[in-house]
Amino acid sequence: MFVGAVFFPLLGACVSGFLGRWLGDRVAMWSTVFFMALAAICGLLAFWQVALSGQPQTVVLFTWMQVGELSFSWSLRYDTLAAVMVGMVTLISTLIHLYSVGYMSHDATPSRFFAYLSLFTFMMLMLVTADNLVQLFFGWEGVGLASYLLIGYWYEKDSANAAAMKAFIVNRVGDLFFMLGMALTFFTFGSLEFDAIFGAVQDHVNDVFLGIPSLELIGVLLFLGACGKSAQLGLHTWLPDAMEGPTPVSALIHAATMVTAGVFLICRMSPVMEFAPVALAIVTVVGASTALFAATIGCVQNDIKRIIAYSTCSQLGYMFFAAGVGLYQAAMFHLFTHAFFKALLFLGAGSVIHAMSDEQDIRKMGGIWKKIPVTYAVMWIGSLALAGIPFFAGYYSKDAILEGAVAAGTGVGMYAFVCGAVAAFLTAFYSWRLLILTFHGKPRADHHTMEHVHESPLVMLVPLLLLSVGAITTGFVFAPYFIGDAATAFWNGAIYNLPAKDMMEALHHAPHWVPTLAKTVAISGILLAILIYGFLPHIPGRVAAAAPGPYRFLLNKWYFDELYDRIFVQPARRLAVQLWQVGDARIIDGMPNGAAALAAGASRGTVRLQTGKVASYAFAMIIGLVVFVTLFLTGR
């Protein structure tokens, strides 16, 4: 069961990838769905046994490397943290596989697509069940590879290729720090296995490396790694571009699972992070800034998928600052609920795009809610959950995070709260902007497209409906376990909180105005969006015209891409050409080639001396004799 949950997707990937050509597309597609369903059953059983019945377990497969004192195995570690992720990933992945059967039905090579999708799921599961940092890194890079392949799935499109490369390379920048973090962890603890690290944290609290406490440096390096994968401020640029991939990919990888790996990493390393207060403060500030920053951009984008992508970026920021103030439980809870409603939103957007004949610009939509009522309804549910409206899933987790930020009682906690509250307002605003522009108002698409608007087939609607059940129920069903009274038994030691801080206790004593404020800003954001886009549609244009500077600043995503292009990409390209053509060709090769030319020239010169005339030889001899005699005489 534990092994099955992880390896069934790999089996599915192999079947579809290698045998797809012989099996035919339909068989290949359904076989991956079948294997995913098996994995999901195993995953849910594992969740039941490990998390709810409290029986964590580690399955050791075989040794991976053993070099000197450095030794670690391939193994599957099932504690509550892993089990939550395994259950969630297998379930959502199964639903998305199912949805893709409908969504990709007109594609030329669906077997390849499903192989990638299953491969991704396998890698993600390896990541979350890792028992040591290196296996986590295996999954970490593996999901990066799968994401690269899936973003560039339509490899004939140049923009898709560019986006895929960008995703891989930006991720690699983060991975570089992850790698160094591992090196320092080994240097400090002499091991990379979680049990050994966590057991020895107390002994290394006072270790110093390069003048910095080792644990702080480990925390910062791993967080930089997490920034790459989870698209936090600075390394976020790849995520919006990643929307070039097919929509189910965006839902599975770039919303529900892969991008949350960074949050998972921080929670997994909680026993170390708890002893690294400065690193945690950095996590908090970066997370909070990202939450706000991405939300501002989300308000002006026009591509339906990009809006949701920025929203993902922003929600990841919430998770990070929750972890940063020490509320790993709330971070994981938000990760869990977010996976459901964000997958739902993406798949809903996919359904809209499907209906609109592959149109993604919300300025060219509108007036279609009657034609696709189910999609419309699930988008509402998803948005309500995202905005944190009471009784929907997002309400419980987001409230807990905001309360926690205040309860932390620190400066960075307050900063996080302010950013979070403003971002919550903006989130509600852009969600309803999206809903209204997409579904309401006069149709802005051309006549031809409008005629083709149709509800998606059943195979796509079933996952949507199941996910919307998740978006409604996961909040109040699981709140007691993740952050409520049953939390201690539920987590069962998988997450470590410093007893001195005891954030879980502090959470219950958060001021009462916090939830009220959160609800108020969310609802006012919704009302503002409805007012502006529903009743006064000329206002947005006027605002944009009145403040063209800020508008363009936001529309161009704070000019991050341009900045990086100037600072890193262009200089690197120029330097590369310079090093090659000047460094290698002219300087390094110039020396031996010059030596060769010198030798050849010298020999030509010597040849000229041999004229064959006796007189000139005699003359040279006399000169030589004179020189020698002079030297001989003066030398004495």
Partner: protein
């Protein structure tokens, strides 16, 4: 006599020469001779490989000593003998050489059409020299093999190479030969001091520090060119570009390892103090190699040149690992050497597949190949990922171990080496995108055929090895551990002894 009960190392070394004799004796029409030469060469190399597998199974992984030792007196008056043997450092390189040779012969099956007989002879002679070099335990013997490798390689590049083959062959020969002459001087100096050329005996011999420095520099001149280290690397791209595909495979797969092997066999154990003294210089050169050549690779238009530059970067990781003097670093370096032998060899074969069909190596001439050659695209993707050291493929364990090892010595060096991760991804993905992705714009690309059965036969062992080395590297690492552990212990002992004397 040894664990195998017969002189296995000599047999593995000289068996290919038997094949050479057979090929030389074939007479008849040119086509018949060519076909006979191909088959003879293939069978000879396969039998050699099968025989060398004895080493895999019989080698005692728990012993750090030399095994399968053979000794014959050669020039007893001068202390020179015929001494062969392998330890954990060299045994897998013998296997790598014997494994890559049949693949190279198979890869040249159709692409080499003129002077087939001579070509096959050159490869078999090359195999003898490579294996002999890794087995030799006597300095003179080592030197002979080390130098003799140059001759067949020089011919392979110079005769069957591309347009500028003569320039490249001369550059290759002169560069590597110049260093070797200095090495000969160093060998004579050591012999003069110790009166023997037997490597295990020299290990026991203490060389004074002042002399160590000079000998180290002489060795360095030879090995650094072979590795190649920055800034003496420029012969490599030219040699690769002009060499035929199989020549590139052997060049990258085995010949580049000779320099690093030399460092490990001679410089580090014989000259511990000088090695320690010069280690910072090696770090700097290695990190410069990683960053500099990765950037240069980024600018390349020629597929082979790009991979050649990436080789230099990978070898930078290797030299860095060797001079960390700790278990992780050295084992990582050894593993990277093996992995690079497999992966870059495979990448050159990937280029060869396209070159055989289109006769150009310019990246811009391709695009969209994935559409018509899906199997090829998959294979190419696997090796691209192995080259950027994705965990689960062969490239990862070595790079990871070297970075972990380097961190213990100097974190900034580790950071410099790790930037190779990012830059490596940049140039390899750029290459892959340019070749495999995009829309097909040229008509001549549309009629390309996917991999032939022969090409599958060439790639499948490499694919298996790449994944095996990634998922279960332990079966390779276990060969290294005992020997490397002893090496590290001896190095530390020598260093502490030296510092104690300095203290007095």
């Amino acid at each position: 006599m040894n664990a195998a009960g017969f002189p296995i190392l000599s047999l593995v070394t000289f068996l290919p020469l038997l094949g050479v004799l057979v090929i030389l004796s074939v007479r008849g029409e040119e086509a018949v001779v060519a076909s006979n030469a191909r088959w003879t060469a293939l069978w000879t190399s396969l039998v050699t490989f099968a025989l060398s597998l004895v080493l895999w199974f019989q080698f005692d992984r728990n012993s750090p000593d030399f095994q399968f030792v053979e000794r014959l007196d050669w020039l007893p008056d001068y202390g020179v003998s015929y001494l062969m043997g392998v330890d954990g450092v060299s045994v897998l390189f013998v296997l790598l050489s014997t494994a890559l040779t049949p693949l190279c012969i198979l890869a040249s099956w159709e692409s080499v059409q003129n002077r087939v007989r001579e070509y096959m002879i050159a490869f078999l002679v090359l195999e003898t020299m490579m294996v002999g070099m890794f087995c030799a335990l006597d300095f003179m013997l080592f030197y002979i093999f080390f130098e003799a490798v140059l001759i067949p390689m020089f011919l392979i590049i110079g005769v069957w190479g591309g347009a500028r083959r003569v320039y490249a062959a001369y550059k290759f020969f002169l560069y590597t030969f110049l260093g070797s002459v200095l090495m000969l001087l160093a060998i004579i100096a050591i012999w003069y001091q110790s009166g023997t050329t037997s490597i295990p005996e020299i290990y026991e011999f203490d060389i004074p520090f002042a002399m160590q420095v000079w000998i180290f520099l002489a060795f360095f001149a030879s090995f650094a060119v072979k590795v190649p280290m920055w800034p003496v690397h420029t012969w490599l791209p030219d040699a690769h570009v002009e060499a035929p595909t199989a020549g590139s495979v052997i060049l990258a797969g085995v010949l580049l390892k000779m320099g690093a092997y030399g460092f490990l066999r001679f410089s580090v154990p014989m000259l511990p103090d000088a090695s320690q003294y010069f280690a910072p210089m090696i770090y700097v050169l290695s990190v410069v190699a990683v960053v500099y050549t990765s950037l240069v690779a980024l600018a390349q238009q020629d597929m082979k040149k790009l991979i050649a530059y990436s080789s230099v970067a990978h070898m930078g990781i290797v030299t860095l690992g060797i001079f960390t003097f700790n278990q992780q670093g050295i084992e990582g370096a050894l593993f990277t050497m093996l992995a690079h032998g497999v992966v870059s060899g495979a990448l050159f074969l990937c280029v060869g597949v396209l070159y055989d069909r289109e006769h150009t190596r310019e990246i811009a001439r391709y695009g969209g190949v994935a559409k018509i050659m899906p199997a090829y695209a998959l294979v190419f993707m696997l090796f691209t990922m192995a080259s950027v050291a994705l965990p689960g493929t062969a490239g990862f364990p070595g790079e990871f171990l070297v970075i972990v090892g380097a961190w213990a010595v100097n974190p900034w060096v580790a950071l410099g080496a790790a930037t190779g991760m990012v830059l490596g991804a940049c140039y390899m993905l750029r290459l892959y995108r340019g070749v495999a992705f995009g829309r097909i714009t040229r008509d001549d690309l549309k009629r390309l055929l996917d991999l032939s059965p022969r090409e599958y036969a060439v790639f499948s062992p490499l694919i298996v090895l790449t994944l095996w080395m990634g998922v279960y590297p332990q079966s390779f690492l276990s060969f290294f551990s005992a020997t490397v552990a002893q090496l590290v212990a001896q190095h530390q002992a020598a260093i502490s002894a030296a510092s104690r004397f300095a203290g007095l």
